[in-house]
């Protein structure tokens, strides 16, 4: 080292892309997905009730277009976000659990090997 290394380090730190907000992006997208899912269902139900509450075909189409169709679109988008980020969280948790179990197993094997080694001495 070391002036060159410090220079490279300073340059690499300078090039880091930072996420501006401190908010947890994944948590926000999961929350947005949940809200969109609930809002979509509500909008679809309201649109359906409004459409069934009138005999005018033009009004029914308008209610279906603004309520039910937009609601369904929100349900699909919200469900996609919800599933995507819920699964990501679950899989991450599962991976950590597997690593932890693997380490515990390794520790047990090492302890058993040590006990055998001590008895053989």
């Amino acid at each position: 080292m070391n002036e060159n290394r410090i220079q490279t380090f300073t340059e690499e730190i300078g090039e880091l892309k930072l996420r501006g907000a401190r908010a947890d992006r994944e948590r926000w997208l999961l929350a947005i997905g949940t809200v969109a899912l609930v809002a979509g269902v509500a909008l679809a139900v309201v649109g359906g009730f409004q459409a069934s509450g009138t005999t005018e075909v033009g009004d029914q189409l308008a209610f279906l277009a603004t309520g039910t169709l937009i609601g369904l679109a929100l349900v699909i988008a919200g469900a996609a976000l919800f599933v995507r980020y819920s699964i990501a969280r679950f899989m991450r948790f599962w991976l950590v659990r597997l690593v932890h179990e693997h380490r515990t197993e390794t520790d047990r094997t090492i302890e058993a090997l040590k006990r055998i080694e001590d008895k053989l001495k």
Binding site: M1, R5, F9, T10, E12, I13, L18, D107, K114
Partner: protein, 235 residues
């Protein structure tokens, strides 16, 4: 040895959920400087390391690295740039051999032959253990391996969390001699230690943390037994 700071924490508050652990921590590490972060159990030392390494985002305050505010940068990005952390306890893959553990460090773009050459020159004992499972080595040898793997990535800043944990005093002295040699090469080192006396011999600066706040910061030689006793015993 010290010049412009390579790393700074400015008034950092951080914690877990609604519980704040750090209450406005300020810390400065100069180039090639060894800083000892001391304090009793639960003082917030490991949380400080997590904030610096990017594993934990501060709720307020700033992390400045090489003159740039990198608050919120990911741990991976900081590690790739050259901020290397050796975590508390085991930082190695116990079910891989020494050589395979070193192979893991080649992600940084360094050749395996170069990594092995440097490692075995610095830690000859690892050369004898190269085909042994890392988990079956002694605690000191495991720490040597974690140090070697960290150094293989050519870090600019090294963060060491409780290097001496569970090790015999002679081994600890040997490891800290290596830390001093690393710092002499220009690497800035932050050492977190609960057992202060083991690290004050090699540190330039010491920062004493209690209850998530900096109680004292200054030259390592200025931290006397009375100050440590006061901090650790709660007076």
């Amino acid at each position: 040895m010290t010049s412009a700071p390579i790393l700074e924490l400015r008034n950092v508050r951080a914690g877990y959920g609604s519980i704040d652990v750090l209450h406005g921590v300020n810390l400065t590490i100069g180039r090639g400087e060894v800083v000892a972060l001391l304090g009793p159990n639960g003082a917030g030392k490991s949380t400080t390391i997590k904030v610096i390494s990017g594993l934990l985002r501060p709720s307020s305050g700033h992390l400045i690295v090489a003159g740039r505010d990198v608050t919120g940068a990911s741990a991976g990005a900081l590690a790739r740039a050259g901020l290397c952390t050796i975590p508390e306890g085991r930082g190695i893959f116990p079910n891989l051999t020494v050589r395979e553990n070193l192979l893991m460090a080649t992600f940084s773009g360094h050749k395996m032959s170069d990594i092995e050459e440097k490692t075995y020159a610095r830690f000859p004992r690892l050369s004898e253990r190269r085909t042994q499972l890392a988990g079956t080595m002694s605690g000191g040898e495991q720490q040597m391996l974690s140090l070697a793997r960290a150094l293989a990535t050519d870090p600019a800043i090294l963060l060491l969390d409780e290097l001496s944990m569970g090790l015999a005093p002679l081994i600890v002295a040997e490891l800290y001699a290596q830390v001093a040699a690393i710092a002499a090469e220009g690497v800035s080192v932050l050492v977190v230690e609960q057992f202060a006396r083991t690290v004050l011999g090699v540190a330039d600066t010491a920062v004493l943390l209690t209850h998530g706040s900096v109680r004292m910061a200054g030259k390592a030689s200025d931290i006397g037994d009375d100050v440590l006793a006061g901090a650790y015993l709660g007076s």
